[in-house]
């Protein structure tokens, strides 16, 4: 190892070396954390990407409506975290599903709270995603050059609705059981793909023992994976193309006419 020398990166290593040797304990601690950041950066060159992401400009006139997308993202993250905790107790077998949910709700410390957060969080996320979509629609933000990001968004919408549909069955109480039977059957009346989709969801021609574990796997692995990947693509495109300015903003060149707005 001793003979290998990494090519010195401009900036990272040099500043580390140029800094004066710290004497105080705090100074030493700071030094260590700087060099930890440098160490990572030397191997990943992340700092450039972070700078690109964090210090890109947001157009003039950007208002609160532009927070709806990140609010949706936040609701999604909340669902992910609460979902992990629910999965620690949930048992996706037709025999135990209900019992494990009941135990989680009634016996586990804060169980009902976390389950309630997951449950109402889904409503909040659906409301936010529709509001975000409405903002994008009325601001004409789906037009050139952001068409593709709109298409990704529609897929995100479908996946979010599918999350809710598959999650609804999991507590396995009367309401969720019968609503899902009806739902899957309605699915089956769709053209072409309909019957296949229904069979795939049920795990056969009938609502059986495999149905529940199938819904569980789809709900906690398949769709969240897809959602996560597509949200990543969505956000990359947002950063890449920049967010739109509100449609009524005029691009004036003369600096005298510039009015400062937040």
């Amino acid at each position: 190892m001793a003979k290998t020398q990494l090519p010195t990166q401009p900036g990272a290593v040099k500043t580390g070396g140029a800094r004066r040797k710290p004497t105080t304990r705090l100074g030493k601690a700071q030094e260590t954390s700087f060099s930890a950041v440098d160490w990572v950066d030397e191997r990943t060159s992340l700092s450039g990407g972070m700078r690109w992401l964090m210090f890109r400009k947001i157009p003039k006139g950007t208002n609160w409506f532009y927070t709806l997308g990140s609010a949706t993202l936040f609701a999604f993250m909340s669902q992910a975290v609460t979902g992990v905790f629910l999965a620690m107790y949930y048992d996706p077998s037709a025999i135990n599903a209900y019992e494990s949910t009941r135990f989680l709700t009634n016996e586990v410390f804060l169980g009902e709270f976390v389950r309630g957060m997951h449950r109402w969080g889904s409503s909040v996320m659906v409301i936010l995603i529709f509001l975000h979509m409405a903002r994008v629609f009325f601001f004409g933000a789906y037009k050139y050059p952001r068409e593709l990001n709109w298409c990704i968004g529609v897929i995100l919408l479908v996946l979010t609705m599918a999350m809710s549909f598959t999650g609804y069955l999991l507590p396995f109480d009367q309401r969720s059981y019968w609503a899902t039977i009806v739902g899957v059957n309605i699915n089956g009346t769709a053209p072409l793909m309909g019957p296949f989709l229904s069979d795939f969801l049920r795990g056969g021609a009938e609502f059986g023992a495999t149905t529940l574990s199938r819904f569980y796997a789809i709900h906690m692995l398949l769709i969240p994976g897809l959602l996560g990947a597509l949200i990543g693509a969505h956000l990359y495109m947002v950063a890449r193309l920049g967010t739109t300015a509100p449609p009524w903003m005029k691009a004036e060149v003369s600096p005298e006419l510039r009015e400062e707005r937040v």
Partner: protein, 242 residues
């Protein structure tokens, strides 16, 4: 948008962008505040509304309410509204499928460079209309009579059978008069014209899947139900739902 309009847009946009503020900390601050609001709302709802858990799923039950999550109401209402109309082909191709396709293709058929909502009258009107229709359908779904009710007027001796039938959840899969789901089971409004009493009883006890078997119901209830069904000839449909 043609090439000139695209270039014009990119030029204008780069001016507006250069006059803007950096994402960090300005947008990050707003987004964080919004995140706190979202988190607080979710926690508040969880504390106030809790997480109810109904009785355990029972495939052969006699009372249940097959209700979806509220934000699916508009879809179910849509299916119910389109189903019986002359528009069967539309329903057959699947209204939701069309809706999703229309959405995903939006940037490809709306190609005008205009972005201000008040100068895109068609798009803006369509958007507002969609919101109103969805809101109205959600309201309809939320306030729809319980699926455990049958509105048909019947002679007094069939009243008991009517109640049993309503509470047995047949309406989840069958339509009787104006109540119930049109599918997956056939409409029962005129079932008496198709099946004799004995066949009705046989269907109840030994049905074709996915219809659950009702052989565990008390005999007396089963007979009351069969009596009720065996006088449904389709001419008396009751008042339409408002």
């Amino acid at each position: 948008m043609n090439q000139r309009e695209k270039e014009q847009y990119l030029r204008d946009y780069s001016i507006l962008k250069s006059k803007g503020k950096p994402f960090f900390p300005y947008a990050v601050a707003k987004d964080s505040l919004m995140a706190v609001v979202v988190m607080a709302s979710i926690m508040f709802m969880s504390i106030m509304l809790g997480a109810e858990l109904g009785p355990k799923a029972d495939p052969t039950t006699t009372t249940y309410v097959p209700r979806p999550e509220w934000y699916y109401f508009f879809l179910f209402e849509l299916l119910r509204i389109i189903k019986p109309a002359v528009l069967t082909p539309v329903a057959a191709i699947g209204a939701p499928t069309i809706f999703i396709l229309l959405l995903i293709l939006l940037p490809f058929y709306d190609r005008s460079p205009e972005r201000r909502p008040e100068r895109r009258p068609i798009a803006t009107t369509a958007g507002i209309l969609t919101i109103f229709v969805m809101g109205y359908l959600t309201y309809l779904g939320a306030s729809a009579g319980s699926p455990n009710e049958i509105d048909i007027e019947v002679p007094a001796q069939y009243e008991k059978g009517k109640i049993v039938t309503a509470q047995a959840g047949c309406l989840a899969c069958h339509k009787i008069g104006h109540n119930g789901n049109d599918g997956p089971g056939p409409e029962l409004t005129d079932i008496a014209n198709k099946l004799p009493k004995a066949a009705l009883l046989r269907t109840l006890e030994n049905p074709t899947a996915p219809m659950p078997s009702f052989k565990d119901l008390p005999q007396e209830q089963k007979l009351a139900m069969v009596d009720f069904l065996s006088q449904l000839r389709g001419e008396e449909q009751g008042p339409p739902p408002e």
